[in-house]
Symmetry: C2
């Protein structure tokens, strides 16, 4: 059996769980490489993937004998089959954060489950720690993002629209990767004050501030980087804000390491911003992997510890409504004694 | 109050529901035009939207006084506020197909809800019937899709890859619409046997079969069209399959009207395919609106009636594993006595 399924079966044993239903397609892809619509059942003895006729061919071409996964077309699974899958299972786990309340009720009926137990993100927690192959994909995605940013700095000229720049980034990624990790954010002028704004038809001015938040996917793994930069020169009123954001981004990088507490890390930035009259209005960071936002979350709400080989963002930002915003973000890998920035683009004032 | 919220409040009254929590962002956008992350609460007297600081500015610029929506930053909502929202409500509705089991448990605690009741897709059911403005957007999205298809027929040349063609379609849409309604499917040769295949680097041959499934979004509303066509000539072995699919697509169009039963419609196509030794391995159609797949579903599992001003696809297909596949799909509007095809591209043999 493949190593990830084997790990999960050991975990189930330790939790006294004889069966498990997995619905989250990202978790299924993580465990099996299957990228389709369907559900994965871990019964006492078998790993079963139930899909429909649209995906059967594709799924068969993905799984190997080594995976030990039996693939069914939902059309061929009878009412009795469903009732038999977990027949001798006392406890069957389910993804309580993923399946809907309606699905929960349906499964209890359909699978005749004795004791349906919450699994508290067991797979997501395992996904936080990246193995060698995952790290290679993340590094590659970040490297291409650095290259793309370098290219886009040379591409941008006053008169171009935010949308046009976002399209050019998408084109760059498309020819080199599996595509975007998320919709590219390109904002300019007063639009930069919206942390999650959408690229508009606003044209780049001769003296302008621009924020780009960008990332791509390589073999299913994401990158995430933001830079705020300037056309012509850095306006005096922006300099102190930029410096404050950068200072905190660098300090956070210095604090990111195995054992660091996510709430404390966030609190430190928040406090420093408050000293100067600003707020940290979003998280300081988030895990990056098969999803662009995944555990662990680095925020005030999240009280957890960073661990070796987690990959997270470090992205402080300050936004002044109607005026401008500054965010600087890297994707970094946590190590025993520090961290390695996987995105490596310039962070001091960038002027084009 | 805006008409859609007013409709929903009337519906709630008739269901003896004093409060309602809406989580599905598409339903929220349908009711309020808000396109952000947050939840919509309909309490006894107020419409409340709770979002976070990332979206506050954008939400404020969307809602009008006429909507009568109070917008909160989640940061400013206290534990007491949550407990007070539904204080005098006997029954509070929730979207049981949308919220997770974990969220369901959390809400009961957080909102101190007496009786949390399932709403059985009330908003989705209303969304099935399109109003005049929605129809205008759907027509526009379909018209641009026809134009794009015409353009792409002139663009395709042997030697181009499936991916390259998909990119060109995306580019076309990007400059004219809000973007793709779904990832464009471009398949050629034996790849056409996978109904939901992903464009690959396979190059178009001099004698080839090509299937393109494409759609865009206009003001949030989708289009969906598929054509299977040929390079050079139509191979003799494919002709009978193409003719059979086309015959059934035309017959279905003739049957699509107010009152028609979705299961019977599907059964008719299925039976005709079986006569010739083929299967209908996917649905015959699905609703199209703010989502590319939405209610009503036209399939064997769905026993419902088409109604005036529903917009659905009509997409029979036959797939022969390892050899080829044929699908012909239009987006059509149901009327009292028939239907109007919103996508109007040629359906007889297309040879490029």
């Amino acid at each position: 059996m493949n190593a990830k399924l084997q790990w999960l079966r050991n975990k189930m044993s330790s939790l006294d769980m004889q069966g498990l239903i997995i619905n989250n397609p990202i978790n299924i892809r993580y465990l099996t490489n299957i990228d389709a619509e369907g559900i994965l059942l871990l019964t006492r003895k078998e790993n079963i993937y139930i899909t429909d006729s649209r995906y059967i061919e594709q799924v068969h071409s993905t799984v190997t004998l080594f995976d030990e996964i039996i693939v069914y077309d939902a059309h061929d699974v009878s009412k009795d089959d469903y009732e038999n899958f977990f027949m001798f299972c006392e406890n069957v786990g389910f993804e309580e954060h993923y399946i809907s309340y309606a699905k929960y009720k349906e499964y209890i009926r359909k699978f005749k489950i004795n004791n349906f137990v919450e699994t508290e993100y067991i797979i997501e927690k395992q996904r936080m720690i990246k193995d060698e192959e995952e790290l290679k994909n993340l590094e590659k995605a970040c490297e291409i993002t650095d290259n793309c940013f370098k290219y886009i700095l040379s591409y941008i000229k006053p008169g171009m629209t935010e949308k046009q720049i976002a399209n050019e980034i998408e084109e760059y990624y498309k020819t080199r990767t599996d595509g975007l990790a998320f919709e590219t954010i390109v904002l300019s002028g007063e639009n930069t004050s919206k942390p999650h704004g959408i690229p508009s038809n606003r044209k780049i001015q001769k003296k302008d501030i621009i924020t780009i938040d960008m990332g791509c996917k390589v073999n299913g793994y994401c990158s995430d980087m933001t830079r705020t930069f300037f056309v012509g020169s850095v306006p005096e009123e922006i300099k102190p804000v930029y410096d404050l954001v950068l200072k905190n981004q660098i300090q956070t990088n210095e604090q990111y390491k195995d054992g660091a507490n996510t709430r404390l890390l966030t609190k430190m930035v928040e406090n420093d911003f408050k000293l100067y009259g600003y707020d940290l209005i979003h998280s300081l960071g988030h895990g990056v992997g098969m999803e662009i936002h995944e555990a662990p979350y680095v925020s005030y709400q999240s009280d957890t510890q960073l661990k070796e080989n987690m990959v997270v963002t470090n992205e402080p930002g300050i936004y002044i409504p109607g005026k401008f915003g500054v965010r600087i973000e890297d994707t970094v890998q946590i190590t025993k004694f520090g961290c390695i920035s996987l995105t490596k683009s310039e962070k001091n004032y960038i002027i084009i």
